[in-house]
């Protein structure tokens, strides 16, 4: 019987004794390559699988691959560490990069809003009449600093002249200008990250990007953990991704089931009348799930998916033109669900 090991291919007898062998060279890179190939290739693996309980170390000594037990472990150790390093570096794939970008974008948004509000409050003491906020305010402060620096050509000039704001001292002006520049660069970073996500989504998940929009698609991948996992999810899971709190409340107690998770941000759902949102969410999730699968397994763009989705949504809309009538309370208590109260 032939078996694969990390140090070579062995022919063994019934009791596990080594009859013949073809050893790999003791080159670490070569051993790493073979070991990873055996881990990842299931066919290779099944063909010459060592029997349960097979003692690899004794076999390695028997066929002379290593001189001693100590040498066996030290070589194995080196190969395993190098193999793991290589696999870790290869694990950072395109979809993982998108996930990092999505999470970075959330952090940027949160930080930007926080700092923008601070800037608004702070600068409001010096020029409350500006009527600016957010990026416009940050750009304004970065450009002018004190309201006294506004040129007469600027439409805000009259308001600045009659402002009730305090006088901005030089030291404060430096501080605020620097602060505003940071905020401006955060807005810039936000646009850059969004553009990056759009481009990457277009190349690694074109169908999902088309059906969900690049941002929602990227978020779905992010929550699922990878494009592969998203493709493996049933569409009912895709439908409620991001609504786990509501879902578990539903499973645990009598709460209603969530109709949609983060896919709510899709325009087909959030512009639809409330009584058909659940139905549309179900149809959309089904198509998104298909899109993720096409992207993961074939990668070809298929525009018919979105067309079919639109037809389906039209159908739902025409067959449910009016909100359902409220059901009469029959007085029977709803069935108790399993689980703890």
């Amino acid at each position: 019987m032939k078996i694969n090991t990390w140090f070579g291919v062995l022919g063994i007898g019934r009791t596990g004794e080594v009859l013949e062998f073809e050893l790999f060279s003791k080159d670490i890179r070569e051993l790493v390559r073979c070991s990873i190939a055996l881990q990842e290739n299931r066919q290779l693996l099944r063909q010459h699988l060592p029997p349960a309980g097979f003692d690899l170390k004794t076999a390695a000594l028997e066929c002379g691959f290593v001189e001693s037990s100590a040498e066996y472990y030290s070589l194995l150790h080196e190969v395993m560490v190098e193999a793991a390093k290589l696999q870790v570096s290869e694990a950072f794939t395109a979809d993982q990069r998108i996930i990092q970008a999505v999470e970075a974008l959330d952090d940027i948004n949160e930080t930007t809003n926080l700092l923008s509000e601070r800037l608004f409050e702070w600068y409001g003491n010096y020029f409350p009449e500006s009527g600016l906020s957010g990026e416009a305010l940050a750009l304004f402060i970065a450009k002018y600093g004190s309201r006294e620096n506004i040129g007469s050509e600027d439409p805000l000039y009259p308001r600045a002249r009659n402002s009730m704001g305090a006088k901005l001292e030089a030291a404060d002006e430096v501080l605020l200008k620097g602060f505003a520049e940071s905020v401006c660069s955060l807005y810039e970073r936000k646009r850059q990250t969004e553009a990056y996500i759009q481009d990457s989504m277009e190349s690694i998940a074109p169908n999902l990007s088309l059906a969900a929009g690049p941002m929602l698609g990227a978020r779905l991948i992010s929550v699922a953990g990878s494009l592969e996992k998203l493709a493996a999810f049933p569409s009912s899971t895709v439908q409620v991704i991001g609504a786990s709190k509501a879902l578990f409340k539903h499973l645990r107690a009598r709460a209603p089931s969530p109709k949609h998770g983060i896919i709510y941000s899709h325009p087909l759902i959030n512009t639809a009348p409330w009584w058909i949102r659940g139905k549309i969410a179900r149809a959309l999730a089904a198509k998104l799930s298909l899109a993720a699968r096409i992207d993961f397994y074939s990668g070809e763009k298929d525009a018919s998916l979105v067309e079919k989705l639109e037809v389906k949504v039209e159908q739902i809309k025409t067959s449910n033109p009016k909100p359902p009538q409220k059901k009469q309370d029959s007085g029977v208590k709803p069935k108790k669900r399993r689980g703890r109260k």
């Binding site: 881990q39 170390k57 472990y73 395993m80 499973l251």
Partner: protein, 226 residues
Amino acid sequence: MPEVKLLSDGIFEVTKDKKQLATMNLDPGKVVYGEKLIQVEGVEYRTWDPRRSKLGAMVLKKFNISLKENSKVLYLGAASGTTVSHVSDIVPEGAVYAVEFAPRSMRGLIGLASRRKNVHPILIDAGKPESYAHIVEPVDLIFQDVAQPNQAEIAARNASRYLKRDGYLLLSIKARSIDTVANPKEVYKGEIKKLEQAFEPKFEVLNAKDLMPYHEDHLGILAKIR
């Protein structure tokens, strides 16, 4: 002078201010996850926090983990190596095959393994034991902390391939990863039953204890092949 008491092979109770679980540091001077180093008569001990380690909690709950200095261990669900580092301390002449599937955790584990010659990291799914058959030898102990819904099955399939006849299986069952809503006590019962009957090999459960107060909704199990 801190007081040292031997609890079992390689595991100590060091008393400095308070009683603490500890192992002898195989990599002197180096701290792995923020634990304390205590010197006693030229020997360096690393304290072992039972709240951060299921195995540590099991030791305090009087599980007999029966490791010798040359024991071979298959560690499933190694994470970034917090507990692996202590197992590595306990078996200085042995081998720890540390299986972990998440690349993020593996980064920490690789850092640990490159400083400890007895730790062999494997980036692989513990649910597919054939995929590391070309690497792992028969072992004296399988420790499993994988938080998967089919953890009993994973344990059985690994044991059938890698556990010596007289070896032990130590298992940490996380109730919440099997059924998020069911009562943990019911989940524990079900899992013990699965270990005893559902798969090949069948196990004899020698000890099973809740890991409170160190870990919530976790059960520690010590078993051997029947």
